[in-house]
């Protein structure tokens, strides 16, 4: 914690805020891509401390929020109707499917377990040879290595009752989709530090030069975020558009090559449906044919059609940064964490939930 406290130093924060204020000469809109950064911005009260010329736009960086309805429905179907122990990260449990959430399915008796590591799911598969164990493998590039490793471990152990329901989403294609959206107005990006820890910085060079947009790989502590904003603003004011690394204490230029090797042993890149946004080309991971017997999508031949989103939910516009949560007519009214119309109100990383939680809204 001592090390972490250095990144929450109030004097240093004040210094960065002063530097940002001195550097800004005109309005700029900066998108923080990752939901963890949104959470940190709101939790630490940073948005209100920034100069008025800086507008923070919240990006699509919550893997829970963008997991498609049909995949959640499929996970629920497996847990309820098949001889399956469904394992998931905690965030996924509250996200609504087209009818119920995994948490509601659990309350109705479905075998659903909250885990922190997919390797734990492999252990559960080993301990329950008469049950199928499915890990709901959600996440960005950050969680992909561990999910891939679980498949490799299950394969090595010769387990035939383990599979993953892969719902991975990739950040750079989503950033490109957001830039290309006619309605979005983004001057610069704080790229997601955790993702770059795995994948490195190289993926962002073509984006930055092609679209003339500064991209600063940024961490999650208050000082990280303030320094990241300062770096973006300096580039914008100097009309510079390059990739910089604020999170150098963690992120190496080439990323974690061992983790990348594990990812591409098990996964291949495919087009992916993003909840609220639609299909983004080459923006997801699918399990390779070599490991097809560990792919729950193939193992359980269930076809679930994509159900329509709630007609009053504007999650797509929220996740593309076109609208702020407060601008949604249903924010805090029909749409609350306990009765969410869409996923951004559910996940702890979701922009709507962050705004709701830290705005003092109270559910009665």
């Amino acid at each position: 914690m001592k090390h972490m406290n250095e990144y929450r130093d109030p004097e240093l924060a004040k210094l960065y805020l002063e530097k940002i204020a001195k550097t800004v000469t005109q309005p700029w809109s900066i998108m923080e891509v990752c939901g963890g950064q949104t959470h940190s911005l709101v939790k630490n009260g940073i948005i209100d401390m920034l100069p008025k010329d800086i507008t923070m736009i919240h990006g699509p960086g919550c893997p829970v929020c963008v997991t498609s309805l049909s995949l959640i429905d499929k996970a629920i179907h497996l847990a309820v109707n098949e001889n399956v122990i469904l394992c998931s990260f905690g965030d996924m449990l509250r996200v609504p499917g087209s009818k119920i959430s995994l948490l509601e399915a659990k309350a109705k008796g479905a075998a659903i377990r909250i885990l922190y590591s997919p390797l734990e799911a492999v252990k559960i598969a080993g301990d329950n040879p008469d049950r199928e164990v499915v890990f709901f493998a959600v996440g960005f590039e950050t969680t992909a290595p561990a999910n891939a490793l679980s498949v490799i471990h299950a394969h090595r152990k010769g387990l035939s009752n383990y599979s993953i329901l892969a719902s991975h989403v990739l950040v750079p294609p989503a950033m490109e989709a957001v830039i290309n959206d006619k309605e979005s107005k983004i001057d610069g990006f704080l790229a997601a530090g955790h993702v770059c820890t795995i994948m490195g910085n190289a993926e962002y060079y073509p984006l930055s030069s092609q679209y003339k947009v500064p991209i600063v790989v940024t961490g999650f502590e208050p000082i990280d975020i303030l320094q990241g904003i300062l770096m973006v603003v300096r580039q914008l004011e100097q009309k510079k558009y390059v990739v910089e690394n604020q999170y150098a204490r963690i992120v190496r230029e080439e990323g974690n090559t061992a983790a990348q090797k594990v990812i591409f042993e098990v996964f291949e890149i495919k087009d992916q449906t993003w909840r609220g946004i639609g299909t983004i080309p080459k923006s997801g991971y699918a399990v390779k044919e070599k490991y097809a017997s560990y792919d729950a999508n193939k193992k359980f031949s269930i076809t679930i059609d994509e159900a329509p989103e709630h007609p009053e939910c504007i999650s797509g516009e929220i996740m593309k940064g076109i609208k702020k949560p407060f601008e949604c007519p249903q924010f805090g009214k029909k749409c609350k964490p306990s009765f969410p119309l869409g996923a951004p109100m559910v996940s702890s990383e979701g922009a709507c939930a962050a705004y709701f939680h830290f705005s003092g809204s109270v559910e009665v």
Partner: protein, 353 residues
């Protein structure tokens, strides 16, 4: 509070010779087996004159103003670092009474046991109850035992109710809170919840975080005797953590609350575990902890007395009652930003990344 080694040593002493090594449905039948279970040592262990009457209820003398409280305990797992469900069940109700400014005196003790529970585990819980009662100076005077089929419980559920005399100097209630009151937390926050989480299936992580479960009644009565009327509210932020308690108080009043992140006392290991799991310590359950709303004029003396008590050595003033934002709890972050503290919409779930 007895440590676990002491408990295990004691187990070799009062452990009765039992005919069964597990709880069976028959132990809840009310017949021979139930009586055999109780006679095998339960009554001896928790003995006192009123309990020994073995009547349908307890007949006690309570001529003064009394406080009455009840709580049910469903912790899983039932044994956790720093304690078990037995002492939790005693301390929980004792502390609820203490928060009313009462001297806890008598408890009821009801077990719902799951068929198949090991008799040794039941006994370890009972011994913990005995020690917790001795430490708090309370007596179990009536009780009940039921057994549910295997799979329909979670080893042991315990309900305790308790009564005690309200201390004559105590004048405690939400309506007594005033603008300017200082809010004092008696120790490190989030300890109990993270101790439980550190061993919960799927979240296990290496740690030495011990639950802070303990009885607070002697600490509280000492404070009431010294500061009496200037203590406006005492409350223990168990489930929902300190954020939920403060928000509840603000919502039911016409004032606001300011708290300061830099002043929140927290053990380093607890803070690290919260960071790792993405859990906000403001919402994590506490046990051996209480919040006091006291008159600003006595805040520093109150803090000094509390810090000299074994249950208050990490106590701190964490905030104050203000008139600027009624119904709202505002937290000043470590970097000086401000944000609203809300109630938790549901259970805190670990985040994905």
């Amino acid at each position: 509070m007895p440590d676990s080694n002491k408990l295990r040593m004691q187990l070799t002493c009062p452990m009765p010779k039992l005919d069964f090594d597990i709880i069976t449905l028959g132990h809840g039948s009310g017949g021979v087996l139930t009586n055999k279970l109780l006679d095998s040592g339960v009554f001896d262990l928790l003995t006192n004159d009123i309990l020994e009457e073995r009547h349908d209820g307890a007949i006690i003398n309570m001529n003064e103003k009394i406080a009455f409280s009840t709580d049910s305990f469903l912790v899983s797992p039932i044994f956790f670092p720093g304690g078990n469900i037995g002492e939790l069940a005693v301390n929980g109700t004792v502390n609820d009474l203490a928060m009313c400014g009462a001297v806890p005196k008598y408890l009821s003790l009801s077990f719902i046991l799951e068929e198949g529970l090991k008799m040794t585990e039941f006994w370890e819980v009972l011994v913990a109850i005995k020690f917790a009662c001795e430490n708090a100076n309370v007596k179990v005077v009536t009780g009940d035992t039921k057994v549910v089929e295997k799979g329909k419980g979670d080893k042991i559920f315990i309900n305790t109710s308790g009564i005690g005399n309200v201390h004559p100097k105590a004048n405690i209630g939400k309506t007594r809170i005033q603008i300017g009151d200082k809010i004092i937390v008696s120790g490190n926050i989030a300890t109990h919840g993270m101790a439980i989480m550190s061993i919960r299936e799927g979240l296990e992580f290496e740690s030495t975080i011990q639950s802070d479960t303990t009885n607070l009644n002697h600490t509280i009565i000492n404070l009431i005797e010294q500061f009496g009327n200037d203590i406006h509210l005492l409350t223990d932020p168990t489930r929902g953590g300190i954020a939920t308690v403060l928000k509840e108080i603000a919502l039911t009043s016409d004032f606001g609350v300011d708290i300061f992140q830099r002043d929140l006392p927290m053990d380093d290991q607890v803070a690290s575990a919260c960071e790792l799991l993405g859990i906000d310590p403001l919402y994590v359950a506490n046990e051996g902890l209480f919040l006091s709303f006291v008159d600003a004029s006595i805040a520093n003396s109150f803090l000094e007395v509390l810090q000299n008590d074994k249950n208050g050595k990490n106590a701190k003033i964490i905030g104050s009652v203000v008139d600027t934002h009624p119904n709202q709890v505002i937290l000043e972050s470590s970097i000086g930003g401000k944000r609203v503290v809300s109630m938790l919409p549901g259970e805190q779930l670990p985040r994905i990344c």
